[in-house]
Subunit: 212 residues, 2 copies
């Protein structure tokens, strides 16, 4: 059933999940697609269409059961499981991500950090040990890792990603500012911060040149 779901819908699901979580915190038990639409500022028909991809969850005239919908979307997003995550790159960004306890609450457990710098080796970030990059292959032989986060310079990103893939890692969270060319069954999610910033500069520039 989930086969034909578009990437656009999947991208919207975490937002539904977040709003439903907030509704639960507010003690709301049921919500109509119209009310949810007002809160989320998307059309009610979009909400109905999106949720219909997964079998609906709503009863005509009765609205959605918030807790149930939250739980079901969580399952679709795979959030009822835990994921073992490693971070490649023990610099500022890698340490910052390792320190996010919020990810752990959602089931993403950072279990190790790897870095080329021998000075960092043996140090701990929130109890998570930094290993030398050379040890990666051995580590992957004895640990099942679901997600590897790349916070290394782009020049080393693809080569490192290939080492991870050869070690059995199937999902890469890529903060290096480059596109990774990897086997088709490997999932890559890019976070390109400077490209996000350029959306702002585009808009600032556009507004300045189109002032009336």
């Amino acid at each position: 059933m989930e086969k034909g779901i578009s990437k656009a819908v999947i991208k919207r699901l975490p937002r539904y999940y977040r709003y439903l979580g907030e509704l639960i915190d507010d003690g709301v038990e049921r919500i109509s697609s119209n009310e949810l639409s007002e809160r989320m500022q998307v059309t009610a028909s979009q909400i109905r269409q999106d949720l219909n991809n997964f079998g609906g969850f709503g009863q005509q005239g009765y609205g959605y059961n918030v807790a149930h919908l939250y739980q079901e979307i969580g399952k679709i997003l795979g959030l009822d499981k835990t994921y073992q995550m490693i971070i490649i790159g023990g610099g500022r960004l890698g340490q910052t991500l390792a320190n996010y306890t919020k990810f752990e609450k959602r089931g993403f457990q950072v279990v190790a950090i790897f870095d080329v710098d021998p000075e960092l080796v043996g140090k701990e970030v929130r109890g998570i040990e930094v290993h030398l990059m050379e040890e990666l292959e051995d580590y992957l032989k004895t640990h099942k890792i679901d997600i590897a986060t790349l916070t290394i310079p782009k020049a080393y990103a693809e080569e490192t990603a290939m080492r991870l893939v050869e070690g059995g890692v199937k999902a890469i969270w890529n903060f290096a500012h480059t596109d990774l060319h990897l086997p088709e069954d490997v999932m890559v999610e890019n976070v390109h911060l400077s490209e996000s910033l350029m959306q702002l500069s585009y808009n600032i520039h556009w507004h300045e040149t189109h002032k009336s």
Copy 2:
């Protein structure tokens, strides 16, 4: 002319910009849309369509002048200017972003950090001073700030964004995990890291439940 450009095209421009920058580094002076298409793994017709939004830049049968196209896309993205940026939240993420010299090279200059924690006040991150949050209004009276980056808990994000907007800030780079409801002329670019991570867990979960 730029009026009708879709958000989707604008989102793709930084990627063109990046690839063209790499071509320049590699000494490439001209490239056909077919060659660019192979490198970027998008169709040649998409490239032609996208670039036609801005008047084309290509000559039939002659390809694109790489340096010229790079420069023109940079201008469209507003990268021929500099932007004064402040960071609200002097925690790990705020400090990490303040330390990115790469942003500065692109024209995004971090000029101040603000935090509620008096212990941080007066400290410097790469020469950038941390100010007490109470001083924000006074600071904005005497400094023209183009972009404010929010790296604070979501509970304070909207209230803080409103203070920024009242102080004249028109663009917000939002890392707080919430949607900001701000006046229409304020631009917001969200970076929701946990939602990015959920795209990976969705895919891992989907592959596990659809194994043949």
